[in-house]
Symmetry: C2
Subunit: 305 residues, 2 copies
Amino acid sequence: MNINDIRCILIVGMGTMGQKIALQCATHGYEVIAYDVSRQSLETARANIKCYAEQLVDQKRLTPEESNVALARISFTTNPDEGTRVDLLSESVPEDPDLKAKVFAQFNRICPPHTIFTTNTSTLVPSLYAEATGRMKQFVALHFYGVWDHNLADIMPHPGTSPETVKIVTAFAKRIGQVPFVFKKEIPEYVANAILAAIASTALKLVFVDEVASVEDVDRAQMIVMGMPIGPFGWLDYVGLDTVLQITQRKAEISDDTQLQTEADRLKSEYVDKGWLGVKSGRGFYTYPDPAYAHPDFLTGAAGS
Amino acid sequence: MNINDIRCILIVGMGTMGQKIALQCATHGYEVIAYDVSRQSLETARANIKCYAEQLVDQKRLTPEESNVALARISFTTNPDEGTRVDLLSESVPEDPDLKAKVFAQFNRICPPHTIFTTNTSTLVPSLYAEATGRMKQFVALHFYGVWDHNLADIMPHPGTSPETVKIVTAFAKRIGQVPFVFKKEIPEYVANAILAAIASTALKLVFVDEVASVEDVDRAQMIVMGMPIGPFGWLDYVGLDTVLQITQRKAEISDDTQLQTEADRLKSEYVDKGWLGVKSGRGFYTYPDPAYAHPDFLTGAAGS
């Protein structure tokens, strides 16, 4: 088996990431089967994928013809038996290891023996549900960020993944326009996420625990000193403050750290409980679609403080 | 006393930072007295300041006339008694609290009562030597990064600093082209440094302790995912690997953390002991003046891995 044997891709789970990955595979010549258990989710996905394709055309990254050809390559289904004709599966269901195990076990019964299974998990390690896939050697994490922007793809094998699978999935990632980051071994957190988490936790501590500076102060400092286009809190708005709260809360419980608990409490009461979840809800640390940090006078400190 | 009473600036310590601050004050209209105990250091400083001014002219940030006028405003001296006519002192001597205390005590005897004292310390808190200044209320940290690039200035009061001093020094920072970051209170680390330290420590752990990825992998991932112009290891090369080793070693000793000790040991044996200190020595994690991460193919992963 080699990269040229990969022709048909099954995307399992049609949330935001599933939608983006489906479109990216289709614009790079793959036949795509977009699967979800919910007919409603599939309809939303179909509409969103069309919007994404239009944005890419507007940005001159696709011609209208390429966009039409790509969209025609994607079929939407609630029927898992479509899995009988796929060569690679990309899973993006919610971050629940039991659910993921169940989904992989189901498709292990349906998909042909050669099919490679990949998980787009952001926070779990593949070994948590490798056994449930029934095809340990052909299973690896293939994790996306922005898909067409911020086009890094983490490829993290679990101890049972075969080198051949890593090789094919790496080649596949490149074919769909990703820069592959192949991990030498499994670790609890992807590199980019680990560094983002370190930045976030320091930034949250400075504002919520030490109380030495404002959200805007911290972001401005990072943007000026490190040349980052978006500061730590701007980033957290992109991640989603409900997700940030969940991660902070879990870390606080595991470590029994009162500082982390203070961060979680303030994030909950001052943001999440008010429905301020970041970019997706129109408000988080900043208001969207026109956040203060994107204004030219933000960096001079003329606005705000 | 107000900002218009600040006319003559004494820069104490003519290393790299002292040189840059001296030139920046002079290009913004201030009379500058550049003081160092070493005549040799003063000669080096004079030559370097001239080079910096030429670079600013080449970059069209100064006209040749402005550069000449600015250079003429700077006088160089080994005589501390020149301090009798200054309104603000900016100290950039080595990071030794006893030395800084001695220097401030000396200039407290020489400078007029109205003179404001500032320290450009990167790693110490101002309260460590506030008492030695003999003028607690008129003493505050005023800390620079790149001075004309990355023009953030941290203004960190100690508990005895007067609000008036903070106000005047903030206005002064703005007048010399800095974006002021005023701390609500003293903390052990500036915000931008605290976040850089968190990034560095995570990056060093991933490469030296977890051994899951290469220096280039980590930098590439951060540059792609967060849009950073320079990745964590590229940054450490700028900071200087001897400085990074010193900080890591100190943290390892305080926390008795074996992971940190591993990071320090490897940094020492694989880099610092070989004289690879980063940008300043021509080699660190990358080679200079043409580091791999600045090449267009670095981000695609085509080079290196």
